[in-house]
């Protein structure tokens, strides 16, 4: 049996302490879940193990020998292999070539194909993976590619195997296949460190969990003795939830009604109503279909059946163009790739959705354009030195405000905010909330999707829970605690076992 330990590891980045005196231990033959929300320090710990980052103080000990790495290849040589979210396979090569990349058996100057395939087959059989060795990698599903990646890592006979979000991109049946493989892995004498946002899977695959919060080790516990509620409170602690300002009212008037919206393999029979001035939150885990739901209503993605009614009128076959004309707006989740044009200026990005507003007959009116730009810069307090500078020169928070401002310029009646606070600092977050509240005061309705479920409690009038493609509940924030929102979003049975927080 091998054992990997950290002895009071501390990692200080300029301005933040990523890890503080963390001492944990992991043993072979088990799957250790490493948990914590964004910014908890778990990625830093992962990187310290993989040699990408060096601790400020403290040490990593493998089987009693202290390890010091200056780069990832050293960690790899000492038997610590890491499989990252971004797959590193070469698409244009076969499975066998990928597994044996750089060490294919040779016969003189030529590749010995017979041996290459035989060797790859043998390595796959060890983990009961059944994929043809001569298949091209671009023909594989994401799940299969993930498995090949693990076979490749295991072919180096590591002592530690780190899996970073292995299931995040997988479909349900693929997750099953991957878990079957990980159970095979457990039979080998290897320490498996498993990082995942999909908490509900942990009871199925992990033996123990190690929880970090704000850089500190909160505890280690066997999964079997841990309830969902306990795990969530370990991860999130007692978060103070502020509530929205009391003057926010929603009217009885229904603006948007969605009836029985269905998209195969995403969601089924989604129905809800949105009132004028209302801020509606949709709580769901990553992959619950929340982003696709917003995009489908906005007409940017398809749906199979169902109706979208706006002001009592059915909108057939919506497109973003049509929905914009009706007064809809959508600030996308991925602001860099979908919300902004990085190579264009701040001015251009602030008017991207408003060419009709700045048009005077056939031509555009520069004066009007500058007015719109100025209005948003002032209203949203966007700090810029020159509106002709590229948008990429702004901070994440200011970029997000430009995305929002671009849409506010179109005078929308309904705004969809997809992850409006992703990757921006606390201050900017509060400013985004203020913007949403201000819009509500003007009678504009909003739908918000966020991974930080506690934010929904803070911002919204009402919260819908989206799980496994269905709306499973509707709550007012006052009725809920944060643990409830997470538990409801993750689903599954509650385990009534005494807490044992090692």
């Amino acid at each position: 049996m091998t054992r990997l330990e950290t002895r009071s590891i501390t990692k200080i980045y300029p301005g933040t302490v990523a890890l503080q005196q963390v001492s944990a231990s992991f043993e072979s033959g088990k799957v250790h879940a490493l948990l914590g929300k964004n910014g908890s320090g778990k990625s830093t710990l992962l990187k310290i193990f993989s040699g990408a980052v060096q601790p400020t103080s403290g040490e990593v000990v493998l089987d009693g020998t202290p390890l010091k790495f200056t780069d990832p290849s050293q960690a790899f040589a000492k038997g610590i292999a890491t499989v990252y979210q971004e797959l590193s396979l070469v698409p244009g090569m076969s499975v066998a070539e990928n597994i044996l990349l750089g060490r294919t058996p040779m016969r003189g100057p030529l590749v010995n194909w017979k041996q290459t395939y035989a060797k790859a087959k043998e390595l796959m059989q060890e983990l009961r993976v059944d994929i043809p060795a001569d298949e091209m990698v671009y023909n594989l599903s994401v799940g299969q590619a993930q498995m090949i990646e693990i076979v490749k890592a295991m072919s180096f006979r590591p002592k530690v195997l780190q899996l970073d979000e292995p299931t995040s991109a997988l479909a349900k049946n693929e997750v099953e296949a991957l878990f079957a493989m990980i159970r095979e892995l457990k039979k080998q004498d290897v320490i498996i460190i498993y990082v995942s946002h999909r908490l509900h899977e942990l009871w199925e695959i992990a033996d123990s969990c190690t929880v970090l919060r704000e850089g500190q080790l909160i505890g280690t516990a066997p999964m079997a003795k841990l309830s969902r509620r306990e795990l969530i409170s370990m991860m999130f602690g007692d978060v103070e939830i502020r509530t929205r300002p009391s003057d926010l009212r929603r009217s009885e008037r229904i603006v948007l009604e969605v009836k029985g919206l269905t998209r195969k393999n995403k969601w089924k029979d989604i129905s809800f109503q949105l009132h004028e001035g209302e801020i509606l939150g949709i709580a769901g885990m990553l992959g619950s279909g929340r982003t696709e739901l917003l995009k489908s209503i906005f007409g940017a993605e398809r749906f199979d059946s169902g109706e979208i009614m706006y002001q009592g009128e059915c909108i057939p076959a919506p497109t973003p163009e049509k929905m914009k004309k009706r007064g809809f707006a959508l600030t996308p989740e991925d602001r860099k790739q979908e919300g902004l044009i990085q190579i264009h200026s701040i001015r251009e990005n602030l008017c991207l959705a408003n060419f009709d507003q700045i048009r005077k007959g056939l031509f555009l009116d520069r004066q009007k354009e500058l007015q719109l730009v100025d209005r948003q810069l002032t209203d949203l307090q966007i700090k810029v030195t020159d509106i002709e500078h590229p948008i990429s020169s702004l901070s994440g928070g200011n970029q997000q405000k430009v995305v929002v401002g671009n849409w506010l310029n179109s005078n929308p009646r309904v705004i969809f905010f997809d992850e409006p606070t992703r990757g921006i600092d606390v201050n900017a977050k509060q400013q985004i909330f203020q913007i949403i509240w201000d819009q509500s005061r003007k009678g504009v309705s909003s739908i918000i999707v966020s991974s930080e479920l506690e934010e929904l409690l803070e911002v919204c009038h009402r919260i819908l829970i989206l799980r496994d493609g269905q709306i499973v509940g509707e709550y007012e924030p006052e009725e809920l605690r944060m643990e409830d929102v997470y538990a409801l979003s993750m689903g599954g049975e509650e385990r009534e076992i005494d807490p044992d927080r090692g």
Partner: protein, 339 residues
Amino acid sequence: MKSTPIEVNHTTKQGQAALWSKIVNKYVLEIILLVIILSMTFASPGFLTTDNLLNILRNMALQGCIAFGMTMVIIAGEIDLSIGSTVALTGVIVGLVSGWLSEAGWMGIDQAALVGIVVAFFAAGLLGLFNGWILTKYKLPSFIITLAMLNVIYGLAAVVSKGFPVTTLPSWYSVIGSGKIWSIPIPAIILLLVFAVVFVIMNHTKFGREVYAVGGNPESARLSGIHVTRVKIICMVAVQLCAALSGILVSSQVMSGSFNFGKGWEMLVIAAVIIGGTSLMGGIGKVWGTFIGLIFLGVLINAMVLLNINEYVQYIVRGLLILIAVLITAIQFQKKRAR
């Protein structure tokens, strides 16, 4: 906006240097062009004469019309390599249609050529629609589609003309390519008109801004309610219409349509656009830049002819200068990024 300290200190030496480097950076192509023009004026007395300058404009008009359409296409993030063949096909079409209609006795050859012009534009428009449709419907790279169409259209022009020049054209037709108004060659006037129209479209209309947005990031554009498919198709049609215009100019100048016209023009046209600072990645570019790019190439070719430079050496010089111009834009872009 508040002015930066650099701009305030124009009087100091440092400030002045900074200001100069800013100006040089912004107008580097114009400055190089000016230098070439000045040195040519001294090197060859025939260079800086009204006749020669108009001559340059006229020579550039043929490819120049297409360059403006190509600017739209490239800013939209696409490309059209098939335009050279369209030049040939449309010239052939005008000749064939006027020949057929007049020989059938339906109308005089004078009117028949007019119909031919309309048919030529129509055919080019259809080709553009086809390119745009395949491109947006099947998400294929326009590079591949139009590379294939370059061959298809070339073959088509050769087949319908049976491989012979088509000369059934009325005498008035030569006015388009060789006529003058107030001693300005008509092709030069057409070139300036196309420049003006495309300049206004790209700088002062909603559609122009949509083209920039689509080329800059199609997904952001789509989610901002811009009809990406429509924008791309219109650009693909526009460049083909420009090619048709050019095809008519060429066939008018030589009073015949041949499948061999326009061969290899796509490279010169794209070179002018790229020299003008338009990014092949889409989303960045200026119509004015393309105009300068055209003049640049035109002056260069003209200068080398006046200086009696060996034809094959001309190729080397032209190629190298294109490379240098593109390098300058690339370096400037990298500097901007690094800021």
